[in-house]
Assembly symmetry: C2
Homo-oligomer: 255 residues x 2
DNA sequence: AAGTGGTCTAGACCACCTC
DNA sequence: AGGTGGTCTAGACCACTTC
């Protein structure tokens, strides 16, 4: 019970940076400002925030707007709220990047080291598993891809993807230059949901050669179905990663 | 562009089951009812919901309450909303269990097959890594545990956990009978946030013997720090799983 | 032009925790 | 008893999509 004295209340005057005419929502502007304050420790671990109403009044915002901003950081695992008590910054090194998980890690990695080799590129009938995952009739034409992804010239992952009919005209050249998600976005397909299953297994001989790892070495596997804004399945992927170079980070929040 | 005709609108009259005096929030009651309707396909894949205002009027709820219920299902990946268009049930087999991820899979597995063997149980000074992860001074006393988790008498995972000072009096016997999270909960420690990192590697000789797998076979690894409702780190765990018996499911939603 | 979800406000009542 | 977050309402205006 030895009390940890709560740190002083410093909600930062810098929040005057709220722009009411910006296209970015006020709750998100506030959430971003608070997150920054937490990460540079002007709001140190354990610090208590003002209550929602007072904070809203100081900022000229309504309580629901303030609540929504705070909720965003609660969902990220940066703040903790308790009824009757208040809102505090979580303890421990929050500073380290959390990341969300592979969908986004993939994207940011692409920005750093845009090397992709297309190993296989073929339109063929869907297998039973592919049809099942893509919600197609078995035998429907699909585009099957195998790519090798490298970062800093080191092989990182083998990506096996299957796409339904409307995307079968994506070319090899496009894929060497751009990420799959970028290509789809430029074609008007916007990803909204990804369902992923993560596990591990021994590498196949083909994979160990590609990845430059020992025979039967362990690989991290992820299979995913992605759904776009219209609710249709637009991609099914089976990926395997070098586990010494790749991992998935997840933050779970119990509500 | 071949149109997928939107299915008829059947928001189910059964939603009369809303109980305004229940301690469970109205938005969650509604979300649960909608989720059930989706899973038993009385709201089939692709079906469009009524708009939020109309739905609210029919149910005697305000729009924010209806919105919050819908948002819950959007976050679960069951519904998709588009401005100017409407709200639809996602395509593809949603019926299959989604699960959230290991924190919850652990808990539900416990209910099915409560076998745990405590292999190691010792209070000792924290290593550098443990101190770092638990936000303690190096050398502070911690409880170090190694447990073998079995399901249906088959070894499933090796769990290596470290707990800070206030939990060092948890006994071996307690751990054989109950899950770690149950024990902590009964001691007034309620988990709120878990930060997890998932990867893979080859099993150590010790692990392969315990798990009954080949030498150097692949294992799925997860390391986690858990934070309770007061914002303190209360557990650090390094787990490894048989990848043929265990995987992590994640649903990502892009907002 | 009409209809949808996205944002924001102002205020109310309640449940819970602490003192 | 007082202060906190949790829930819920009623209404307003806007941005986007579709026709």
């Amino acid at each position: 019970m030895a009390g940890s004295r709560d740190e002083g209340t410093i909600p930062a005057e810098l929040l005057t940076a709220l722009n009411k005419n910006s296209p970015v929502p006020l709750y998100h502007q506030l959430a971003t400002a608070l997150e920054q304050a937490i990460r540079d420790e002007s709001l140190p671990p354990g610090a208590r925030l003002e209550n929602e109403i007072a904070l809203g009044q100081r900022l000229g915002l309504s309580r629901p707007t303030v609540r929504r901003a705070i909720q965003e950081l609660v969902d990220k695992g940066l703040l903790i709220r308790r009824r009757g008590v208040g809102t505090q910054v979580v303890q421990s090194g929050v500073t380290r990047d959390l990341g969300l998980t592979s969908l986004y890690e993939d994207l940011s990695l692409l920005g750093q080291s845009p090397e992709t080799r297309v190993l296989h590129h073929e339109v063929r009938p869907a297998t039973a598993e592919e049809a099942e995952q893509l919600a197609l009739e078995p035998g429907a034409p699909v585009l099957h891809l195998v790519r090798l992804r490298l970062a800093r010239h080191v092989p990182l992952a083998v990506l096996d993807n299957t796409l339904p009919t409307d995307s079968t005209d994506i070319s090899r050249e496009d894929l060497e230059e751009h990420g799959l998600y970028d290509l789809l976005r430029h074609r008007g397909v916007n990803m909204r949901i990804a369902r992923q299953r993560i596990s591990a297994r021994e590498a196949t001989p083909y994979e160990s050669e590609l990845l430059g790892i020992g025979k039967d070495a362990a690989v991290l596997t992820m299979s995913r179905t992605a759904i776009d804004t219209t609710g249709r399945v637009v991609e099914f992927g089976r990926h395997c990663y070098r586990p010494d170079l790749y991992s998935f980070e997840i933050t779970l929040v119990d509500r």
